[in-house]
Symmetry: C2
Subunit: 573 residues, 2 copies
């Protein structure tokens, strides 16, 4: 015992006037740490679970390794007391009430975590293994230094406000390697996010190798090195389970399907046409951006291919939600097809064409035990939309992206569950320029145009850039009644990849997505109901450094000076 | 010879209707390639110079290696003919007329490059070794594939429009490692930029280890791992020479010197005070952002320290320009000092205080054979500025950052040379959020505020984000007479590091800085005088991929689809 005292007394740090702090991001719903105390982890520290679990056990192994190897040094060192009377922590005992419930929407993620000041054992109790994973993440963030210290006298009771907390990543416009996706899922888990919404295919490329439709990727991907094989998908899905992150596939259709035409030109309208014919109005465009292509609902062959795709995708992705896209169906693209033209001249409407497509695909997806997620457009588009009666709310969720809280209100007041991805708040690509070429507005004659240049929005339709503060600030149930708010199952930030690829992935997603993660987990307000904008800055800055130390290239939000001079970078002292 | 034919015929690519293309960025002033032809590089290919040169010879070795190892595969393969009658290129013969002229402002960077179709030798002729380096870069960009091909029948005559083409990097607000700086200088060289303007110190940290003033970095840096040693500086400066990039040091003073107070509190006014006292107006702030601190011109000790600093810096940096800062001298900071208060109450003015400082430092810097660069504020600030007579135009250059072309005009019409760094065009950090904490404007009550939120500018004083198109578009001599335009020596983009550090360095700088590089090298217009906005998109996209292949994490500007579908991502066909 004496040698232990010798070993440890050199690490005694006396309490200073600076407020002691530990930082768990997202902030737990309830955390008690009445005295800033800490203890060492025993060199023999271990984490125990009552039984082996296919996904929890690898998570335990991963955190056991992280805890001993991270040795994170807080920029502002916690001012905590470690005394010779604090016994080192020997074990974290995990107790899980329900070992069976799989990872699915609505799964209980609650946990309690207790690190005593005077015991050898910490306790992590959770309803499910998925809640236990959340508790392990919290535990890992209470640990720092070398030798490893852990805050003690800590009691955490925690669970998320919103059940659905996700990231949408577009891997069609530009390709991301499997490692990039795994790193993103890992970082999501660190932020207690639980849904990786994978926008796999679009008009630009079809990287998904489907056993029943091999030609789609063989011809529609950017190349053989830029595909996702069945083994890749399995690896990503399993990695998701081990991190408590559901992998929700999206095969966007009937719009955004130009890439399908490489294998099946006969089922795609307006494919490889110039997206905005010269001299025409915006209403007559063939797509809202290059490139073009919609599946043709009047061609029976379309449904053969779609059924194969849906069947393969549901087989590859066990996730209970299936995202079927249905955004941005553009009149000009369907009108470019002779059979659809004839249908219209016979008195049909484009909304009827979409209804035929939905009626021929939605029941099949539902029959495979899936809840179908659509972009809001399927019901809210101004021109081409279906009647609500063909989309029963019990099987349908709508993801909103336009018009801020107004469209959320329209969705839930119609009785549908909503996932909020408002482009005004949650689109991470915005404000970073425009990818279109040959744009005469770039030919500014008078540079004094200044801020009005290209709309003052960073050259982007959804500019300006969404700052972390803007993401953090958003109340996704704004303006809803209590009953309506219950239909908002959560939110997703989205990274569309016109101007993103692996070179910028981490910095574009983090730490802004951490901001959403906290808002959806424990809210953006303190106990008095005031927004946390002040103290969240300091905590997010610290959390960003910890993410960087874990290999996530999150962008900095402040000069390092602000971290070492707490409060001095505030606007108001 | 027969075996060679066998080896090579498999690479014969027939001419296709797609326009053949090679891409050199920045586009040379004159390039002729009448027929899309290419040949192979001989496995024994070498580059010869008539004599050893301390800096050119390492550059030759570097390019020799790059040419054989890069094996760049163009996204859109050049459609060129390689026939069995094309002999492989054996040698690039470099001829330099003047081996002695050192790298300095105004050095001749012209070169001509000829790759014949029917000879074994290519020729690179330059006035100086620095021009030869530019020609080597061009040569490297004419090379692709494995085995290595080179465009043939090419004739290039090239030289820059502007003599000064640079990047300002702030290493005080956040620290960058030596490798980050070297990588940046290397990428600058690829873009034919020639000045790395190093904003080394500021109020946040003083990372520069100066032999005569060791305490400044010992106490004022972010820590011993976050400094630049004498050996680091030597390495960076020599690396610059080997890449034809001058390393121009800036020690900002008398403002932006809070970090000096860690070692010398007695010479710094308002150090470590809260930057914007509660309840006061913007005019009464102590700094335009946290943190605070100005050198005190009334304290004789100030000049002892400054002289040591200037002497050491000029000794470490052989560059003929010395940047002495002088931006953002804030009344509140000097007024916080009792001796300055007394000076003012005795009838003195703050401009007189600044003049005392300039009169006590400028002649000393000039005496060390330096041309002094100041930020425009020293003459143009609305409140605190010196009379022009104390800054002779022959020794003084002003760097403009405010008010777009208007301030450029004010500077050159007063007879000074100007470096253009307009924040409206060339500030790379803009539009990416605000780093200040405790900002009540983030507490938006109504999220329908939408685009008006935080000024619609990405939460940034100089928002929105400057797109590559905006950077490319800027005519830095806009509105000037021919005589005035001659005083604009060039431009610099600037990366201020409130929200940048090594995690985002490459993506924040590239490829937007490539856009400036071309505008300053060969202009942003085609031969008819029309801006190149259409074709520049395609070429920059290709160049960005090549930079990525060279290890520079430049951000993508388009979906890959746009590269593989030329013209299809245009706004107008």
């Amino acid at each position: 015992m004496r040698s232990l005292i010798l070993c440890c007394t050199i690490f005694i740090i006396s309490l200073s006037p600076i407020l002691a702090q530990i930082n768990v991001w997202p902030k737990p719903r309830y955390i008690s740490w009445p005295k800033p105390q800490a203890t060492f982890l025993s060199p023999f520290f271990n984490i125990t679970t009552p039984q082996y679990h296919k996904y929890l056990s690898p998570a335990v192994a991963r955190y056991s390794n992280l805890i001993f190897t991270e040795n994170y040094h807080s920029i502002v060192l916690p001012q905590v007391k470690i005394t010779s009377t604090s016994p080192p922590l020997q074990t974290l005992v995990i107790y899980v009430r329900d070992f069976l419930t799989p990872l699915q929407h609505g799964v209980n993620e609650s946990y309690t975590l207790h690190i005593p000041t005077d015991g050898l054992y910490g306790n992590l109790t959770a309803e499910t293994v998925w809640g236990a994973m959340r508790g392990l993440e919290t535990f890992s963030q209470l640990v720092w230094g070398d030798p490893v210290r852990i805050a003690s006298g800590v009691y955490v009771v925690d669970e998320p406000i919103f059940e659905h907390r996700g990231v949408t990543l577009d891997t069609s416009r530009n390709y991301y390697g499997v490692e990039d996706i795994l790193r993103t899922i890992g970082a999501m888990s660190m932020n207690k996010l639980n849904v990786f919404h994978w926008h796999i295919t679009d008009s630009h490329s079809f990287p998904l190798v489907l056993p029943s439709e091999l030609e789609l990727a063989a011809k529609g991907s950017y190349g053989p090195d830029m595909t996702y094989s069945v083994a890749d998908i399995k690896r990503i899905v399993e990695f998701g389970f081990e991190h408590g992150v559901r992998v929700l596939p999206e095969i966007d259709m009937p719009g955004h399907t130009g890439s399908w035409a490489e294998a099946y030109p006969e089922i795609v309208t307006c494919a490889n046409m110039f997206w905005w014919p010269a001299g025409t109005t915006w209403a007559d465009r063939l797509a809202s951006e290059p490139g073009t292509g919609h599946l043709n609902p009047l061609n029976p062959k379309t449904y053969q291919v779609v059924q194969n795709v849906v069947r393969d995708v549901t087989s590859l992705f066990p996730e209970g939600f299936y995202h079927a896209g249905a955004d941005e169906v553009i009149p000009g693209c369907w009108k470019a097809d002779p059979t659809i033209q004839k249908f219209l001249s016979d008195g049909g409407t484009l909304s009827q064409v979409l209804e035929m497509f939905v009626n021929s695909t939605f029941p099949y997806i539902v029959s495979l035990n899936r809840t179908v997620v659509y972009w809001e457009d399927v019901l809210l588009d101004a021109e081409i939309k279906v009647v609500p009666s063909i989309l029963p709310p019990e099987n349908t969720i709508l993801q909103t992206w336009n018009n801020g809280p107004n469209n959320t209100k329209r969705i839930v007041s119609a009785g549908y569950r909503a996932i909020v991805s408002s482009a005004d708040f949650y689109y991470l690509d915005c404000g970073h320029g425009d990818f279109l070429g040959n744009e005469s507005k770039f030919d500014s004659v008078n540079p004094n145009d200044g801020f009005n240049y290209i709309g003052g929005s960073g050259g982007s339709w959804c500019g300006p850039f969404k700052t972390w503060q803007r993401v953090y600030d958003y109340d996704i149930t704004y303006g809803l009644s209590k009953e309506e708010a219950l239909l908002v199952i959560g939110g997703e930030v989205a990274l569309w990849s016109e101007q993103a690829d692996p070179t910028v992935l981490d910095a574009r997603i983090w730490p802004r997505t951490s901001a959403m993660a906290e808002t959806l987990w424990s809210g953006n307000r303190d106990v008095t109901g005031k927004k946390r904008y002040a103290e969240a800055t300091d905590r997010l800055n610290e959390w960003r450094y910890r993410m960087v130390s874990r290999g996530i290239g999150a962008e900095p939000i402040q000069p390092l000076w602000c971290v070492t001079h707490p409060g001095m970078c505030n606007t108001v002292q």
